[in-house]
């Protein structure tokens, strides 16, 4: 159908704009898709051949040659496959548009904006969930109709990246277990040290979205994501996101965040945390390796970078939610599906990528990374949320224009907390509740 649209576009211009335009739209709607195509794992590694292009957001790893080294390793097992990398800085924006054509690489990370229900149109299936979930984590995130379409090469958990030295200077030895305790700790950091207790990364936007990943760790309920389709996340009694967002509000409102959030800088914040000028940031376990890198480059001790869970416990245990990074998938239009599949399998199972990033391995059998050792010691219970209704949650989210995984509403929250926007927290939550529940009715089914 794509061809039709392009042809129409070039032959129509001037004249009856609207009439031709409507015709164009009609063409876009028609046409079939290769539904149900599978990318099967090759039986003989020596025989599979072809040149595959891998789209990736890891521009740094392509530039410094790390990905090339992975490809060389891969070629030792699959000698006839040539792997090329296409590193894209604005990954989400660019790949989304490329996906209107058939030309979006052979292997790609599934962009976050693609509705889950559309996966079968764009990607070749990697197998059934029943079979894949025996070996791999995170399979539910890309499963549509029992078939899995992607596999994340690494997983992470959300949490506070913090400077251990600063926290112990303030006399804090234990992880806080409630939001109130956490606030008290920040207060202590503010009075006893010269550090900024908490840094929002407001201007860089995406760090604000990480707060949503705390959903589920307060109730320790694996259904937390599915429940978003039926319950109000900002309900006065028991709305999980309400508690999460209230903590962010309190941090800013009580003056524990940086003075001018509107001009924060992510790259510089890494160095500041490593130097102890910033005490805490809410990110993910993946950030640790970057903070340690920053510590090495400014000459402070990388071991000072710590990581702690959201301050909430159920039955005396923290329940951080594990979630996948970008999921790798095979383009349904790829001419070398076997080679593409081989790359995904090799990268997931054998590359050691997750390990090098200090993140959770996608293999169920692999041990946790060293950075999460304190978690094991503290008896933390890792949970993975049920994703059955993931597509529905996205639909409600878009319909309501709230954006659980977008920065906007949390930026508003911070603006309200620091008095730059005149609104009460109550009315802000009430508005979110209203929009969310209204969208549940119109888009939830």
């Amino acid at each position: 159908m794509v061809h039709i649209r392009i042809r129409t576009r070039t032959t129509t211009f001037a004249g009856a704009l609207v009439a031709t335009a409507l015709l164009t739209a009609a063409c876009t709607g028609s046409g079939g898709s290769a539904k149900g195509a599978d990318a099967k794992a090759p039986t003989d590694p020596k025989k599979v051949s072809g040149t595959i292009t891998v789209l990736t957001h890891k521009t740094d790893l392509v530039q410094d040659g790390t990905m090339k080294r992975y490809a060389d390793e891969f070629n030792k097992i699959y000698p006839k496959v040539t792997v090329k990398f296409d590193a894209i800085t604005d990954y989400e924006g660019e790949v989304k548009i490329r996906m209107n054509t058939e030309n979006y690489g052979d292997v790609l990370m599934i962009p976050g904006v693609i509705p889950k229900a559309d996966y079968p149109r764009f990607f070749a299936s990697l197998g059934t969930e029943a079979e894949r979930s025996k070996k791999y984590r995170f399979t539910a995130f890309t499963t549509v109709g029992g078939k899995t379409y992607g596999q994340s090469p690494m997983g992470s958990i959300p949490g506070f990246t913090y400077n251990k030295k600063v926290w112990s200077q303030a006399g804090i030895t234990k992880w806080p277990t409630t939001p109130a305790e956490f606030l008290a700790d920040l207060k202590q950091i503010k009075t006893k040290t010269a550090s900024i207790p908490y840094y929002t990364n407001f201007k860089d936007m995406w760090p604000m979205t990480a707060w949503t990943f705390a959903n589920g760790s307060l109730s320790c309920d694996v259904q937390a994501n599915n429940k978003l389709t039926t319950t109000d996340p900002w309900a006065k009694n028991g709305g999980e996101l309400r508690t999460v967002d209230t903590l962010l509000y309190d941090i800013v409102h009580d003056g524990y965040a940086e003075k001018d959030p509107t001009t924060t800088a992510w790259e510089a914040s890494k160095t500041k945390l490593a130097k102890g000028q910033i005490a805490t940031m809410w990110l993910g376990s993946w950030a640790t390796v970057q903070m340690q890198g920053a510590a090495k480059s400014v000459g402070t001790n990388p071991d000072d970078i710590g990581f702690m869970p959201f301050p909430a416990q159920v039955d005396g245990k923290y329940c951080p939610v594990t979630s996948p990074d970008y999921n790798q998938a095979v383009n349904i239009h790829s001419a070398h599906k076997e080679a593409a599949r081989a790359w995904i399998d090799w990268f997931t199972d054998k590359s050691g990528y997750a390990d090098s990033q200090l993140t959770i391995s996608p293999l169920k059998s692999a041990p946790l990374p060293a950075i999460l050792k304190p978690y094991e010691d503290a008896g933390v219970k890792f949970i993975e949320l049920d994703q059955t209704k993931g597509a529905q949650v996205n639909a409600i989210d878009n319909e309501s224009e709230i954006g659980l995984n977008k920065p906007d509403y949390r930026q508003d929250l911070v603006d309200i907390a620091r008095g730059a926007k005149k609104q009460s927290l109550e009315s802000f939550f009430a508005d979110l509740s209203k929009r969310w529940t209204a969208a549940q009715k119109s888009a939830g089914q």
């Binding site: 704009l17 335009a21 739209a25 709607g29 878009n398 730059a420």
Partner: protein
């Protein structure tokens, strides 16, 4: 356009054949075709990159397309109904008021500098270059530069500190100061363009007029009032139109500097977010069409109020 190019006779034929009686007919035909040949390239570009996408956008505005899915449905005027039943979507035009106010400052300043620099003064070309330079810088780069400029304790605070007005200010911290700051950036950026337009118009005024005026004892202000101002009126009204449409569709500076946070969201930023954040491409296309109509409307009203008069000086 393709047809026009097909009519073009191959040059080889042209050279081999003797001219004879057919020449005048062919010459006439060439004369008819030549302007179209010159026009072909720009018209094709205009068609492919302006009108075809606009046609597509109009089409999308009547659908529920999410920007990704190959499937879309015709929904009639539903998107337009939704737009006009959500007044909150139009509240962002208040932000345009900041840019509108800034463009008044911008036009006055540009006019002032253009007038001064059209007379013979020292370092004239240097000043011209200095004023025009910001317009040559990429908008994204400007956004980043001014992000550091407005940082708490950044360049602006440091410079103010030199004059004893030190201290730390969050210039982008509140809606009012953020919008004023960014409107200031837009003045800095577009001043050069307005300035060059005015300068060109002023320099097309014949020099004898000033001489005659000076002989009659007119001072600089009188010369401006009665010679310069009336003769650049078409350019002035063009600039006003550009400024208004620019203010209504302000985008890159606020998008890069704040991403629309802290009450700096403009109509275009809002449209972009609808399309690319919430996958409502159909609705966003409708919003874009509405903005286009608003700008066309404002321009039309303005042309009615200030009709284009012919300038006749001599």
């Amino acid at each position: 356009m393709a047809q026009t190019t097909a009519h073009q006779a191959p040059p080889v034929q042209h050279a081999v054949r003797p001219a004879e009686a057919k020449a005048p007919a062919r010459a006439r035909r060439w004369r008819a075709v030549t302007p179209w040949l010159f026009l072909a390239a720009p018209l094709v570009l205009l068609g492919v990159f302006t009108y075809a996408p606009v046609a597509n956008m109009i089409a999308y505005s009547f659908t529920d397309w999410d920007g990704i899915s190959p499937e879309l449905h015709y929904t009639g005027v539903e998107n337009y109904t939704e737009l006009f039943t959500r007044p909150a979507l139009f509240q962002v035009f208040f932000v345009s008021a900041y840019y509108l106010a800034a463009s008044v400052v911008q036009i006055v300043l540009a006019l002032y500098f253009a007038t001064i620099l059209s007379f013979d003064i020292r370092f004239r070309n240097l000043f011209k270059g200095l004023l025009f330079f910001p317009y040559l810088i990429n908008g994204v780069a400007i956004g980043f530069v001014f992000l550091y400029f407005f940082q708490d304790g950044g360049t602006l605070d440091t410079v103010l500190g030199l004059f004893g007005a030190g201290g730390h200010r969050a210039w982008l911290g509140t809606a009012e100061s953020a919008n004023s700051s960014m409107a200031g950036v837009s003045v800095w950026r577009y001043l050069g363009l307005n300035f060059v337009l005015f300068l060109g118009a002023i320099q097309s005024i014949p020099g004898e007029l000033y001489e005659a005026a000076e002989l009659d004892g007119a001072n600089r202000w009188q010369q401006f009032r009665h010679i310069i101002a009336p003769s650049i009126r078409p350019i002035l009204s063009l600039t006003v139109i550009l400024s208004i449409s620019g203010s209504l569709s302000a985008f890159e500076i606020p998008y890069i500097m704040t991403g629309g946070a802290t009450g700096t969201e403009t109509f275009v930023i809002q449209t972009v977010k609808l399309a690319f954040q919430f996958n409502k491409t159909g609705l966003a296309s409708a919003a874009a069409i509405v903005l286009l109509l608003i700008i066309l409307g404002v321009t039309w009203v303005q042309r009615r109020l200030v009709p284009d008069e012919k300038v006749d000086l001599v």
